[in-house]
Amino acid sequence: MLKLHNLTRVYQTEDVETSALNNVNIEIAQGEFVAIMGPSGCGKSTLLNTIGMLDSPTSGDYIFNGENVAGYPEKQLSVIRKHNIGFIFQNFNLIDELTVAENIEMALIYHKIPAAERKAKVEKVMDKVGIAHRAKHLPSQLSGGQQQRVAVARAVVGDQKMILADEPTGNLDSAHGQEVMEMLQALNDEGTTIIMVTHSPAHADYARRTINLFDGHVVAESVRVAEQTA
């Protein structure tokens, strides 16, 4: 599904040049569940954002569905992004002024889907993540777990084939964290590609593959052998 080849991302400030990613080569196939791990500042989020086309590489290639999108302008990226990629953040990033249903619906508005169809899709996805009974509530009235479920719903409501999750359980207690992980697992079982940054080895175990980053380099890749050999 996507392939990073010699990908480098350099941040330039006035007098310091910081290499966030250094010659990264990764290939991820459709339907995979990949965890990205590493210490703070190792480039996990930069990698995730680059994959999510929120950030552009300084050099190297990024092949997405057979297209090298590395040099694409923002406008083109946004079109590819909204049809293929859903995002889940540690701090949920829901819009405070919109209700649960409206937050989820927002993803569809930019897909230019008619209102009636939007409504049906939103209801369906709310059922799926078990948040339908809070449809008219504002994010501030929900618990963290519930908020993250809304965020998950928002990420998949447009039938996105890939979900990028940036520490989705970082702000949640273990019970709610578990809940969210199971939801991601279920989505993966339905064929959605999931790439997740996490600090938690337990949650990383949900993934079939783990990529370890250190100082912008891929230092190790481990695969859950049991399933790999099966």
Binding site: S45, N49, G52, L54, D55, E74, K75, S78, V79, R81, K82, H83, F87, F89, N91, N93, L94, I95, D96, E97, M106, A107, Y110, H111, R154, G158
Partner: protein, 836 residues
Amino acid sequence: MFRNYLITFWRNIIKNGVFSVINIFGLAIGLMSCILIMLFVRQESGFDTWLKDHTQLVRMHTAYTMPNQEPFETVRSAGSMMEAIRDYAKNEIETGVRLIRFGMTVRQNENVFPEEFTMVDGSFFKLFDLPFIHGSKESSFNKPMDLVITEELAYKYFGKSDVIGETLTVCCVTENTTALTITGVMKDLPDATHLNTDMVIYLQPALFSDNDGMLNTWTSLNTYTYFKLNPGIVPQQLQDRITFWMNNESPLIEIFSHLLGDKDTGKKVTDLFSLHIMPVADLHLNAKSQAGNMGDLTPMGDSKMITTFIIVAGLVLLIACINFMNLSTAKASKRAREVAMRKVLGASRAQVAIQFLGEAIALVLLSLLFALVAVELALPLYNEVLGKELSLHLFDEPSLLFTLIGLAICVGIGAGIYPALYLSRFLPGKILKSSKSVESKSSTKFRSVLVVFQFATSIILVISTLVVYGQTIFSNNMAVGYESDNKLVLNIQSAGDNLASLKQELLNLPEVNSVVFSSEAPSQDNENNNYFNLLEPHANGYANENTLVNYHNMGYGFFEAYQVKPLAGRLFNEDFGLDTIKQVAENEIGQSSVVLNHSALKKYGFSSAQEAIGKTLASDIRGKQHLTIIGVIPDIYFRSIKFGVRASVYTLNPERFRVANISFSTDNMPNLITNIESVWNNNVPMQPINLQFLSEMMSAQYQDELTTAQLFLVFSLIAIVIACLGLYGLSAFTVERRTKEIGIRKVMGASIKDIVTLLIWQFSKPVVLANLIAWPIAAYLMLTWLEEFPYRIGAIWLVPICLGVGLLSLIIAWITVGSNAAKVARQNPIKALRYE
């Protein structure tokens, strides 16, 4: 602690760059407008308050309210009134004085100077205690024809100020020149007085023969009459006394007996003819409302204009204050942590509130400094537009300085109190714990209300400005009914017997096409009323009814020169030999001609111009006259269209000719002027020439409105600029606050266009709402204002003006917001989402 406050204040100004500039700049131009208007208002409303005992000084005005006639009001009164009332109301009146105005010329060596003289009763300086430099109010007026002049004139004619005993040769109080002895020199009068008298002459009653109607008359209104009240008497007491006298004791009862009828009809003299007194300090602004627009000693002020400008100044300042409130509360979250920490470290809510209030006042004081500089820069232009000599001498006038500082502190408190209370309310626990926005919903809403208010106010101002401008343009361009191009108006009052040769020599000039005499040129608004009674009855008219009509005297060729064509009949024509009014003896009736304008035709009730031709008007001009109506012309505007057209008749009485109307065709104007001047000097030596372009005289009629419109425009533009500054600041802030939301939207697939549209729409809503509020208010105000004008732009014009201003306000808002919106829309959403 104070130092700590100062440091925080200063660093916040620096840190909030754009916002500080918006606040300071907005407040500075708001204050500047306020100070400029205040200077003007202060002078206008302070007229004559410097006169000693001004609360005891009153002037008497006159109003005619005769049946079937237009009411006639004037600031003057009849010559016999002063003495009669002074002697009757001894308890109320300490003394009275009459003033008569003259234009005369002073001759010195070979030069002539036109001057305005004021002839006064000997009691003048008892009433007006003007300061003397040489001589005194007691010693100056010993006998009639004694002359007191101002220091300025003393220097003009003698080059020194002590000129007691010197003489000035003047022409023409009597037939010949007279030498007047100067008995006193007074200080120059300040600008803020309605008196405007540089030369005061002790009145010689013998100069005015009885039939002149100047002094010994009860009904002819030629003098300005003032009284000084006894201590403890208020104007209303004198007013009541005068009214009682008028109805019960005055000679007017006899004079109007034919109109009053029997006693039991209950009709009173004051129903027909009334006297009104007004304190001198009120004259400048209010005489107009009591006594009409014309004939005062100096141009009158306009209390409505003053009120309007006070309101505008207040609004502009309010808009600037709102910017401050909006931006301060919007920025509040940025300083929430500071407030929280101060509270944690032991500050009370009051201390925090006072700190923020202090910051607001400091910011306004800083703005005041900039405003004062701006006022100094703007004053020359402002004075030119207003025709005033206003100045700002802060250090000579500590009271003004303290007023301004007081104003700044009030503005500071007004603008700062809400943000101070709002900010000091923050609870430290809540803020330090959460990373969330501390902004409450209600404060966002409050800001929207303020923005709507700002824009509604600015929009009302702009619509009003456009309507005022439109009306002024309309008045200026309205067909006046005559050809006004290429005309010069020459005053011939001092030409004496040399008129014929003057006219002939003017006609000999190659550029001059025609020279026509008349009593007035168009735009000279002298109202002359006389009885013209229709003799023959007709369907809608009455015979022999007393009909007071305005009349002008036009020489042969006047209407032709101004290209006025008759609606019916003919114009004055020398060939008929009948048109000129001649003096007739006591028992005879003279025969001559009269021309009516269209309004007079209606006044007499004729149904068509043709119907009037051949009918007769009886009048008393140089003896009894029967005037045959020979022609009817369309209405032509002798005065500002603002006042409408008077029903007028035109006679041909050469005695009354005062101006020569010169039609010319030339490209070399200076040459023509020089030629006319040399013709004048040949024929009328030792008299200054008074020559004006008709077009300039006409536009002078609209100067007031034009000035009002221009100032109005400037201040409305300032209001809009300030409001836009606020909107810019607020949109910058909103964009900052919504960075996260915009980031989310972008991640969800929103394009830059989507984001910009979203933000622009958010800021369009208050502007659209402001328009919906402003339109009806502006329409109501302007329709009311337009009612003053007999001829006005149609109400329908308000529709495109409102829509246009609405669109303009939206476009301005879009441009203002657009740059901020585009900036944030282009930002990488990651920043917004990762780090809050």
